[in-house]
Symmetry: C2
Subunit: 153 residues, 2 copies
DNA sequence: TCATATTAGTTGCGAGTACAACTAATGTCA
DNA sequence: TGACATTAGTTGTACTCGCAACTAATATGA
């Protein structure tokens, strides 16, 4: 992909460089998501923990870290706040005393169901710009990139 | 794109949701880039300013903010450090006393030429996973998404 | 030409993040 | 069994960021 390579002068063309495009997009998505969840008293990390637990109830902190671009320290602090706010509930594992499973409380679930559609609206308008085939290709390609670019943590 | 929609239960499937995939990818790119430039005494913001000025010498701070997912305060601080380190040079505009143009010094340019290939290597290995057509489509689609999802700042 | 609005850039400060050190529980293997 | 390594999760700390307030220069328009 020549778009990814510098021109003759050895200078990186930012707007033709896909890692840079992804960085810009991710920043815009994060700002919009932050704005939405902040209106309900959450920061972005707390929202991500909530969403990860909603997706698969019973996830442990380590599992949240694995599916999420967050440090385990951040997950720990976000979890504590969500527990204090009564949005999350924690159950110590019977099998392994080190870990505990996270679940949404009823109020956590209702907050999640209030927020998730708004967060999805960020992308739904954008998706209209792409036809179905393009969208399909995009997610497939992104999934491949995620697979090929492993996490260094 | 059904992949972007929640399943019947109203729960967002993170790994099928492209904004989330982009967030994960951007995080991995940022961590790797940070690691590379930190070894040369820069943080990520400082590197971004350096790269933006290298791409188009004479850019002002506001122009750097426009092409970059950074707050003007962050750009201001990053610029000051780069000026102090002798990597950047500033020229007050003759036409408008409020703005000044930024240029790389010789040592700034040589640092840029040392770092840029390493930063590019982050993606070049990854690109091998995609054939040329896929890569072409990816950048085109991303450019479209960037266009359609405007910056809120 | 003067009052008002806008823009470029800086700075203060509260909040959030990264990284590493730490505790406690479990796994490994002689 | 017992020494040692690994893993889950927490916490301390320095750094970074986001936002808004601020200064100074330019634009606007009666």
């Amino acid at each position: 992909m020549n778009d990814d390579l510098p021109d003759g002068s050895g200078v990186l063309r930012l707007d033709h460089y896909w890692p840079y495009q992804i960085t810009v997009l991710a920043d815009r998505i994060a700002r919009r998501t932050t704005r939405i969840v902040k209106a309900h008293g959450l920061n972005l990390s707390q929202w991500r923990v909530l969403a990860a637990v909603a997706e698969l109830p019973g996830r442990t902190s380590v599992e949240v870290v694995r599916v999420t671009p967050m440090d385990k320290g951040i997950v720990s602090r976000a979890t504590r706040v969500l527990l204090e706010q009564g949005l999350l509930r924690r159950e110590a594992s019977q099998l392994d005393g080190r870990l505990s499973h996270l679940f949404l409380t009823p109020s956590g679930l209702s907050l999640y169901h209030a927020l998730a559609p708004q967060v999805q609206d960020i992308s739904s308008g954008v998706c209209d710009a792409l036809d179905a085939a393009e969208q399909q290709r995009l997610t497939a390609t992104l999934r491949e990139l995620v697979r090929v670019l492993p996490d260094l943590r």
